[in-house]
């Protein structure tokens, strides 16, 4: 699967700015490089940081 930024944005129907296309690809590669260097201990369900608060935003 092609993971170039331009190809992904094309699939999302987002027009890419030709003036910054090269920088976009450069920064996207940089993000992927950062991701490949991640070292973490916690990947269990209970470490997920997305919370479902029943009863509304502020439960009294």
């Amino acid at each position: 699967m092609d993971t170039s930024a331009v190809k992904i944005l094309d699939r999302l129907a987002i027009p890419v700015n030709p003036k910054t296309q090269a920088e976009l690809e450069h920064r996207w590669k940089g993000m992927k490089a950062l991701k490949s260097a991640i070292q973490t201990q916690t990947k269990n369900d209970d470490d997920i940081c997305v919370i479902n608060t029943a009863g509304g935003d502020h439960v009294k």
Partner: protein
């Protein structure tokens, strides 16, 4: 017209003069407005002024004070406000073309609180478009200039906030901070700036950049001013789903610069890695002085910080792009090129990658929580670099050219991920430009941060210092 020397005084000093009626709010408002309008051509800190309304509000403040109804420190104090914070019935542009004529129905929570405290809002301040950048080089309203050196950026996104207070064009102000946008301009402009704990200051009526990382906080000349402002703007508001019900102490009354026995953590691996040498020297110099006064300096390790740069990007970019997704598809040319690039970049991570970033974030929060069982605060440089020239996307770090965006948020971004309070305070000058020292504290314990900041302020004796506007 009042004496221009008043423009360099902190708010707590101006407040005494207004309270005892040595000066009037109208007189002070006229002075600050005139000064701001005189220098705006060169500094470009303001997008708009509301002079007539401000003077009418100042006259009302004077009448209330004359009747014995003094409301406190901010009664009759004139200030500008960043233009992503709504004043009901008035235009809030977000420094953008798309929202150039946007009028909010309601005041932001922080505006309601400032109005109730008697503050006078004289205008709306320049900022990076939609707060999504660090230079305040705005394509629609022009670049904001750093009053310490007009060729340099004031930092961003709250660049107009930083430049206006540093130059006396505002007595104090508010900024917003998603990856450092209060602390970066505070460092670059020689101010004290606080990103409070997430949830302490309600964000209702502030245009979002990235929901889970956004904060509103004070930017001022002194620690006391910041503490006084926080007391006014903090507090629960059910209209903000992230707002927390916590007790708000009297931060000013509790200020105490005695550091004897206080434990100050330093993290060498992350916060002192790749720092421009003169900046590192200034920050370590302050640590030495704190130690001489009885503080205990303790080295700590926070391994999860190695993932922070990725987690900041994989969180902030998609959240910001979610907000602007439709406009990015339908009218992309109406964005500045720099933020359009970031919005494009934010469309790229997958949902899985965003959620993985939240896992990394939780791990980081847990490790910071453990560290704060051992130390009172952490100290680090605010920025590893000096602000570059306006228009530059690279900056020198120990002689090497590095990417501005990647490096300028490196030490500020982690506190947006954790939500912990973080304050920048001036610790000296390098090449004539201010340098900030960052103090990070435990959640909802801003007082610990203020007290160490007060000690640093005493050591540096930087307060009241303003740039000489001799080039203008």
């Amino acid at each position: 017209m009042l004496n221009k020397a008043l423009l360099s005084l902190p708010v707590v000093e101006l407040a005494k003069l207004i309270q005892d009626r040595s000066i009037s709010s109208v007189g002070l408002t006229q002075l600050v407005l005139q000064h701001a309008q005189d220098y705006n051509t060169e500094i470009n800190a303001y997008i708009s002024f509301r002079a007539d309304k401000a003077l009418a509000e100042a006259a009302q403040a004077d009448a209330e004070i004359a009747q014995g109804n003094y409301k406190g420190t901010f009664h009759g104090i004139p200030m500008g406000i960043k233009d992503n914070i709504y004043i009901g019935g008035e235009v809030t542009t977000m420094a953008s073309k798309i929202h150039a004529n946007f009028v909010a129905n309601d005041d932001a929570t922080v505006i309601s609180k400032l109005k109730a405290a008697g503050a006078i809002i004289i205008g709306k301040l320049n900022m990076h478009e939609y707060a999504w950048g660090v230079s305040n080089n705005n394509p629609h309203f022009g670049p904001c200039h750093n009053p310490w050196n007009l060729d340099k950026i004031p930092g961003g996104s709250s660049g107009g906030s930083g430049a206006s207070v540093a130059s006396g064009m505002s007595t104090i102000t508010l900024g917003t901070d998603t990856a450092g946008s209060i602390r970066i301009p505070s460092s670059a402009c020689g101010l004290v700036g606080l990103k409070p704990t997430h949830g302490l200051v309600a964000k209702y009526g502030c245009f979002p950049l990235a929901w889970t990382l956004d904060h509103i906080g004070p930017m001022a000349k002194t620690v006391s001013d910041v503490a006084a402002m926080l007391k006014v703007i903090a507090g629960f508001d059910e209209r903000d789903p992230t707002s927390k019900r916590v007790e708000i102490p009297d931060y000013v009354a509790l200020l105490d610069s005695d550091v004897k026995g206080k434990v100050i953590g330093i993290n060498e691996d992350y916060f002192f890695h790749q720092v421009d040498a003169p900046i590192e020297k200034l920050v370590r110099g302050q640590l030495d002085l704190l130690e001489q006064r009885g503080a205990i300096i303790k080295k700590v390790t926070i391994p999860a910080l190695r993932n922070a740069e990725y987690a900041v990007l994989a969180t902030s970019l998609p959240e910001a792009s979610t907000i602007h997704h439709d406009d990015l598809q339908q009218r992309p040319d109406d964005f500045g090129d720099d933020i359009r690039l970031l919005f494009e970049l934010g469309e790229l991570p997958t949902a899985v990658e965003y959620l993985q970033a939240q896992q990394l974030r939780r791990e980081l929060k847990q490790q910071f929580s453990e560290i704060f069982k051992e130390v009172d605060v952490l100290i680090a440089p605010t920025l590893p670099i000096l602000p570059p020239n306006i228009g530059s996307s690279v900056v020198k770090l120990n002689g090497e050219e590095v990417d501005l965006l990647n490096h300028i948020i490196r030490f500020t971004g982690p506190s947006n991920l954790t939500g912990l309070p973080a304050l920048s305070i001036p610790c000296g000058l390098v090449e004539g430009q201010p340098v900030g020292l960052q103090i990070i504290g435990p959640a909802f314990q801003e007082q610990k941060v203020f007290n160490i900041a007060l000690a640093v302020e005493e050591q540096v004796k930087f307060n009241y210092q303003q740039p000489v506007l001799d080039r203008i």
